[in-house]
Assembly symmetry: C2
Amino acid sequence: MSHGFADLIVNNSENNADLRYASGFAAPDTFLYFAMDGKRFIAVSDLEFDRAVKEAKPGVTVLNLRKLAPPGSDFAAVIAEIQKQFGVARFRVPLDFPFGLAEKLRRGNIALEAASGAFFPERSCKSEAEIALIREALAVTEKGMRCAFELLGASSIADDGKLLLDGEVFTSERLRREIDSELARQGASGIGTIAAGGVQGACPHLRGEGPLYAHTPIVMDIFPRHNDSGYYGDLTRTVVKGRAPAIVKKAFDAVYTVREECKAMIRAGVAGHIPHDHAFARLTELGFPTGESEKGFYGFFHGLGHGVGLEIHEAPRLSRKVAHPLQCGEVVTVEPGVYDPAWGGLRLEDMVVVREDHAECLTRIETFLEID
Amino acid sequence: MSHGFADLIVNNSENNADLRYASGFAAPDTFLYFAMDGKRFIAVSDLEFDRAVKEAKPGVTVLNLRKLAPPGSDFAAVIAEIQKQFGVARFRVPLDFPFGLAEKLRRGNIALEAASGAFFPERSCKSEAEIALIREALAVTEKGMRCAFELLGASSIADDGKLLLDGEVFTSERLRREIDSELARQGASGIGTIAAGGVQGACPHLRGEGPLYAHTPIVMDIFPRHNDSGYYGDLTRTVVKGRAPAIVKKAFDAVYTVREECKAMIRAGVAGHIPHDHAFARLTELGFPTGESEKGFYGFFHGLGHGVGLEIHEAPRLSRKVAHPLQCGEVVTVEPGVYDPAWGGLRLEDMVVVREDHAECLTRIETFLEID
């Protein structure tokens, strides 16, 4: 009988990346994961048992909740039973462990402590198998982007500058839905797809609404989750239907240059702030300083990139003051952008894998500005 | 200066229905909601501020996180500041409040207590405006189902009984993706869509994989979230391409009859177990008893229905032992089904609004068994 620490997660693995990572099992209903002395277990309901046995990661033992504790037991009772049967002295739980359950366990004299940071810090370094799944998610993402390019190519320009498609005004809403529809057809879910034209593109959080216009940049940021694997792709391109104004061409050249320079700087051991600071300084140098006017923020006011895996935003960050040295197998976005409430935004985003001596770019789709 | 209780939620409102409900503001990044003395506030980042002011519910005051606490403050510091500025004695938080943050607050001598149950029990009773949004989500869901009907109608039957579409074997995967693609085109996200044929349909948690076959039931359960409103639709139909075997016809007649009987029983004041128990007894009477054989469970072994709103499964439940009397405005599914590892499953699901003296059916799409 051991008397040690056990790791414990109680959640559903569709929303909780740590649980999905640890168990390999995707389920919309809450289940339980615990691990001690190098052994890993999940406990699931009757209805999920067979599927869990088939789908759980090698090395994960699947238990039946009904057999672990009397029928009708809640998770607190199941955990009390596990504590007894496995001789657990103390459970280590993630920061997002549900407070209500924690309180109940403590009232039952079960010792809990929250992890001091990431529950599985090793999650940031992807195996080659994980990188293959991310590549697959990104390939679907690129199909969504290609669909957008084709629709913009097929659109025409009305006298008032609005884009027309199939005889109707072509809106951001329509473009987002067409992209999401293509992603779904390819087996991925796009939640939050951005297709923001003109000055809407100056606010990186706007998804885009209303008619799209010619001769002004359209920022498209597509970041679906693959339904089978749970891994994300992340891709941004900015295009102009028609002719780009001089300032937009200048922004495109600057952002493109900086993206390529940053990718060339990334390798194992480089601190996360280094490529970010480079992007900030170079964009300033190339004519795009950062600041705030009465109209809002302008320049480059977000992080250069972030890790991507079972979460769309995860460790590591490429951002100001991030001292973390990049590690082999980390997958990060490189997405410099410049924004100006006067003319809109221009962001270009690729994904790379950190390797020993270089960054391997995963993104295959081309980068260009104008669509005829 | 008040010295009372304040409600507090810290989460992102894309995954947290209570926060979406309280704030009206949809955001993928974590923000903070608090309420006291009948006043409600959200605190969001600089980048989200303008959109939050535009989109938050009437009566919700939007604060800027940066102005509430010094730049770089974490949520614990922001909450300490709120406690001071608003004279909060104690925060009431939801059961799923993050444990890591709770521990940090307690170390800072901030008093917290978990809600005893649902954070907003009133969420189960929908306003007419919410019912309109659910109707809209369900209309999109029906478009997804109609797309499935059409594809099955357009498919042909190969000599070995497999379905063919566009000259290829028509699989569950293809059908699910086509449904999800249609949902996305209509502005909703289908995560977990089920299209399970033959004996796969006997396991209500299987999504379906591999070739679809003629003359055997295909269970299709579609439950997307509308991207704009966040409300869900939920709809199940079971169809046979070709001719249904006698046992499947018998199951269809029984489940259809029971669904209609249950809908006719639902009104304000009826306890949640009443229609469920009725369904269980009547299905037994109609030749579909419930039990477990060496092959698995058979009969009717899940709840009759559940509430639907900003979550796909929410209060109230229509299930064994549920004493809760239904209330006006509650929106629930009515989804009897029978399953048998020998031949598959048959489930039919509508959605209704509980009214004073009847259940108003929201589902419009027809119910039938065979597709030619």
